[in-house]
């Protein structure tokens, strides 16, 4: 049933040490079963589909209609969500994972959403209309009420004034005597802000012949359309004549004042009032019912909205994926190409089977494993603990396929190097507790879905923080430093060397403050041995020369730790070479590199250790030479410089510059040998590998077995010529390539319909025999930078040489500069210790100078300041700083010895990932 292209190789389970073995698979799926199979694969989340239709635009793909339908559905759902949020109805989000609905269910979903959307729109429309009516009626009510007062006042005036101009209340009487002027009025409502301008304009236009009365409406009215609340004012304008009427009406229109028909007689007004009130009550009821209805609809919808959204997103992603597939000629079968881990092939096949059966298709789906020379994606299986460290490594560069993954080693070396720079028991404890809190509460904190980015950064790194804190406590114990104080657990190894008469001489206050050295010949308890675990507590008392001792110790420790880590990196590169079976690399890259590192830097480490073991403070015989004392202890740094310069020095420890002499017999000879070997390694690193690759290339081309002796000679000359080549070859070749690239199609001998070619992959150091079916050789230039070794094209010597030169220079110079770079371990540790000391001495210690209750209060206050500054400056700021530097040490100094980092990550088609991304995008917006 299922076919294999070739028998699968025994699957290695390297765990996280190397990336997973991936294979390219072809899937043949029936068109009916396609949806179901992709749904199952999406739930599984283990395959990465490739786009088989890259040249077809998004609008021409097969399933573009379905994608559009999904987009429509999503739009409707988002509209629903907005309405639900507007009414502040809580949305139920159980976070459950609903199954992917079948294609036929999609129609049902569409119908449901359509109905809901229409209903909601209708309800919204009705509500708007009702609200508008309600507003109008309310305004009318106010008008009626206010105008009542106007007319009443007017009556009084009339009665009092007995004016010749009589205003009759009976304005409807058409045949009033002409002497009695008829005052007409309009009543309306206008926004309060517009009123002053309105009045002014009226006065100007009507030349003062109109009379305006106004009164504010106290209630705030809600505008139906915009929903904002506005303040309105009732106005009534009295005027004479028709011309003024038109003018007034026009001005009212211009200021968007709504005019209402107001009856003149009080009875009519009263009737109208009553009518208006009843209508308002009715409207209120109807409005209430409409809003209730809307609320009910939204509540019913809110229970399902999130689930629907998840379903729709899943459907959309399935159709997007289906668009990547190829339809074969008969239109019945879909072909897909995907990357998948070899270990999971069984599970993938099971998913395919399930999907096919669920769709009721008779024809089974086929998974066919393909051989390919393309570079597979890099896939590391991580859990919640290892993910933090893997992300740190990936941030620098994704590992090349199947090369050693530095992450498992980083899990310990990174917190360790951090701790060497951070080393304080107290601050380490704070960090440990913080990490522990995050770890113990991780379930609650994850569920809370906190969006703050800084919090998330710390939370995701909780295991890293925990380990950093733990190691910091250990290194703090060794540095004997807890909040800048030392503890004396095992008894110091230093004793007093001054007698009673000395103390008699120094009795006054100033004399007592003078510092004197406890010389190690007398004061150090040699047979008792040094302080067994960590730094002797006496050094914390020696404020004047504590740093001399500590600096020397930390620098030497940093150099030794650094060289150890770089040697470890070099060893890992050996593992890589052995895995990729590149003999060339082992012999001509690894060995010269190891020799170079060994002859100079491991020699330096050995010197440091020898100086520690053999050179004491008192006079002695060291390596057969008379050693007068500590002033003649050899200076290692100057000794190294002199070794490079091959300076001739005296032997033994005589003279004023005894610390610059040779200090073990045969030193000049050994140093010369080491230097010579190291220098010889450089041209070997530079030329050996390219030469051998060239030779291999020649042999493969069948240009005959070379007569080795004259050819070697010729090639030696060629090697020397490479130097100007290195300078000019690559630029010239690039210029030529720009002028016109002519692909060279090599057709080596075919065998039975298959073309065989040997591919020598430069970066992966891989040589494989690849059989491809009869198709034109694809231009496969995508994978690596640097030198390409195409099997079918000519070996590009220029590229090869340049790459090799870069690599050599990087390693040689890197060895020196990286060793010095590790001194940052010392520098940061010093800075941390000094800051800690400052905080104690300058902030907290002052509290001890006060007595009694004042002292207690000041201690309380100063401790507060001390603690917050400690956490803020020392834990957070120094912690971040040490984190960054430890990261840099790993990325540059450690990984440059072996890491390629040219891979691309495995991005499987997984519903989980897609839903998570969409949710995050939502929360961001």
């Amino acid at each position: 049933m299922d076919q294999y292209g070739t028998a699968p190789s025994p699957a290695e389970h390297p765990g996280i040490f190397r990336s997973e073995e991936m294979c390219l698979a072809q899937l043949y799926i029936q068109s009916e079963a396609a949806y179901g199979c992709v749904a199952e694969l999406g739930e599984l989340g283990l395959v990465q589909f490739r786009d088989l239709n890259p040249d077809i635009s998004a609008f021409q793909r097969k399933y573009v209609k379905e994608v559009r339908r999904c987009d429509e559905m999503e739009r409707k759902l988002r509209f629903l969500e907005r309405e639900i949020k507007k009414d502040q109805v809580p949305m139920l989000d159980t976070g459950e994972n609903p199954d992917v609905p079948q294609p036929r269910e999609m129609i049902d979903l569409e119908a449901t959403f359509e109905k809901l959307e229409n209903e909601l729109r209708e309800v919204n429309q009705n509500e708007e209309t009702l609200k508008k009516n309600f507003n109008e009626l309310t305004e009318l009510k106010h008008i009626l009420r206010k105008t009542q007062t106007f007319f009443e006042e007017h009556e009084e005036l009339q009665v009092e004034a007995l004016l010749p101009l009589e205003v009759t209340r009976d304005l409807h009487a058409p045949d009033t005597p002409a002497l009695i002027m008829q005052l007409r009025f309009v009543a309306g409502v206008i926004q309060r802000e517009r009123l002053p301008a309105f009045e002014r304009l009226l006065w100007r236009v009507c030349r003062g012949n109109v009379f305006l009365r106004q009164s504010d409406i106290d209630d705030v009215i809600q505008d139906a359309v915009t929903g904002e609340s506005v303040n309105k004012t009732v106005f009534i304008i009295f005027f004479q004549g028709d011309q003024l009427k038109t003018k007034v009406k026009k001005i009212c229109e211009g200021f968007r004042a709504t005019l209402y028909p107001c009856p003149d007689t009080p009875q009519e007004r009263r009737e109208m009032s009553i009518g208006v009130m009843t209508r308002i009550e009715d409207l209120k009821t109807v409005l209430g019912q409409t809003q209730d209805h809307r609320h009910r609809v939204l509540v019913a919808a809110s229970k399902n909205v999130r689930m629907w959204l998840t379903k729709v997103r899943k459907i959309k992603s399935i159709y997007h994926t289906l668009n990547l597939f190829n339809i074969d000629v008969t239109q019945k079968c879909l072909i897909a190409e995907c990357w998948c881990p070899v270990n999971e092939l069984e599970r993938i096949k099971m998913s395919l089977k399930r999907g096919t059966e669920d769709s009721g298709s008779q024809v089974p789906s086929i998974l066919h494993r393909m051989e390919t020379s393309e570079n597979p994606p890099t896939y590391h299986k991580t859990n919640k603990f290892t993910r933090g460290f893997q992300e740190i490594v990936d941030a620098y560069g994704m590992a090349t396929y199947r090369e050693i993954n530095p992450a498992p080693y980083t899990m310990i070396t990174f917190p360790f190097l951090f701790a060497v720079m951070f080393g304080d028991m107290g601050h380490g404890t704070v960090m440990l507790l913080a990490g522990l809190f995050f770890i113990l509460k991780e379930k609650q904190l994850e569920a809370a879905r906190i969006r703050d980015e800084i919090f998330n950064t710390f939370f995701n790194g909780r295991y890293v923080i925990f380990l950093m804190g733990a190691f910091s406590i250990y290194t703090g114990f060794i540095y004997n430093d807890i909040f800048s104080k030392s503890i004396n657990l095992f008894g110091s190894s230093w004793r007093n060397t001054y007698g009673a008469d000395f103390f008699q001489e120094h009795l006054t206050y100033e004399e007592q403050e003078k510092p004197f050295m406890l010389v190690p010949e007398k004061g150090f308890d040699s047979p008792g041995g040094p302080y067994p675990f960590g730094l002797d507590p006496v050094w914390n008392l020696a404020e004047s020369n504590k740093l001399s001792f500590l600096n020397s110790m930390k620098m030497k420790a940093s150099v030794i730790l650094g060289i150890t880590q770089m040697a470890f990196g070099l060893m890992l590169s050996l593992y890589n070479h052995r895995y990729f079976k590149s003999d060339l690399d082992i012999k001509w890259m690894f060995i010269p590199q190891a020799l170079f590192l060994g002859c100079i830097f491991v020699y330096l480490c050995l010197q440091i250790i020898a100086k520690w073991l053999f050179f004491t403070a008192e006079a002695n015989t060291v390596f057969g030479y008379d050693y007068p004392g500590s002033n003649c202890a050899p200076s290692l740094l100057i000794g190294l410089i002199n070794m490079f310069m091959q300076k001739s020095r005296d032997k033994g420890f005589e003279g004023p510059t005894c610390y610059l002499n040779f200090w073990y017999p045969g030193q000049s000879f050994f140093e010369f040998i080491f230097l010579a070997v190291a220098i010889c390694c450089v041209p070997v690193m530079l030329f050996a590998k390219p030469y051998l690759m060239w030779k291999e290339d020649q042999l493969r081309r069948g240009r005959g077995h070379a007569h080795l002796a004259p050819v070697e000679l010729i090639l030696l000359v060629v090697a020397l010529v490479q130097v100007p080549l290195m300078l000019f070859a690559k630029p010239y070749l690039l210029w030529r390539r720009q002028k016109g690239y002519q692909p060279q199609i090599d057709q080596p001998g075919t065998s039975g319909g298959f073309q065989q070619s040997v591919r020598a992959d430069m970066n992966g150091e891989d040589v494989e025999v690849v059989q491809h079916a009869d198709e034109p050789p694809k231009e496969n230039g995508a994978s690596h930078g640097g030198g390409h070794g195409h099997g079918d094209g000519p070996l590009d010597m220029g590229d090869v040489m340049v790459y090799q030169a870069i690599h050599t220079i990087e390693f040689v110079l890197g060895c020196v500069s990286h060793t010095a770079s590790y001194l940052r371990l010392w520098a940061l540790s010093l800075a941390h210790a000094q800051l800690s000391d400052v905080l104690w001495t300058m902030v907290f210690r002052h509290a001890f100078g006060f007595d009694g209750y004042l002292g207690a209060f000041i201690t309380y206050a100063l401790f507060f300041v001390f603690f917050f500054l400690s956490v803020g400056i020392l834990v957070l700021m120094e912690g971040l700083s040490a984190f960054l530097h430890a990261l840099r040490l790993h990325w540059v100094e450690f990984q440059s010895k072996f890491y390629g980092g040219h891979g691309y990550p495995f991005a499987p088609f997984s519903f989980e990932k897609i839903l998570q991304e969409e949710r995050e995008a939502e929360e961001q917006a």
């Binding site: 899990m411 004399e511 960590g534």
Partner: protein, 85 residues
């Protein structure tokens, strides 16, 4: 405490952890990683300890302390051999 005792005991401690620890890891997916971590921890911690220890084995300079603190040392920690106080 002598020179040998701490040297041997601490080295033995980390040696036991580094060599014996990996065998105590239960079988599972993460066995390799945990073993690597244990060995690396043992190596790093031992290395750091011995660097500090070796540096203090034969000190070339001594601490420079004020007279009043030296008096305190004399009383609390004692005098060196041959010092009359």
């Amino acid at each position: 405490m002598g020179v040998i005792i701490p040297l041997v005991s601490v080295s033995a401690f980390w040696l036991v952890i580094g060599l014996g620890g990996p065998f105590l890891v239960p079988k599972g997916v993460n066995r390799g990683i945990v073993q690597t971590m244990i060995v690396l921890t043992a190596v790093c911690c031992w290395l750091f300890w011995i660097l500090v220890y070796l540096h203090q084995l034969n000190p070339l300079i001594g601490p420079q302390i004020s007279v009043k603190t030296i008096r305190w040392i004399s009383e609390k920690w004692g005098d060196a051999k041959g010092v009359k106080n």
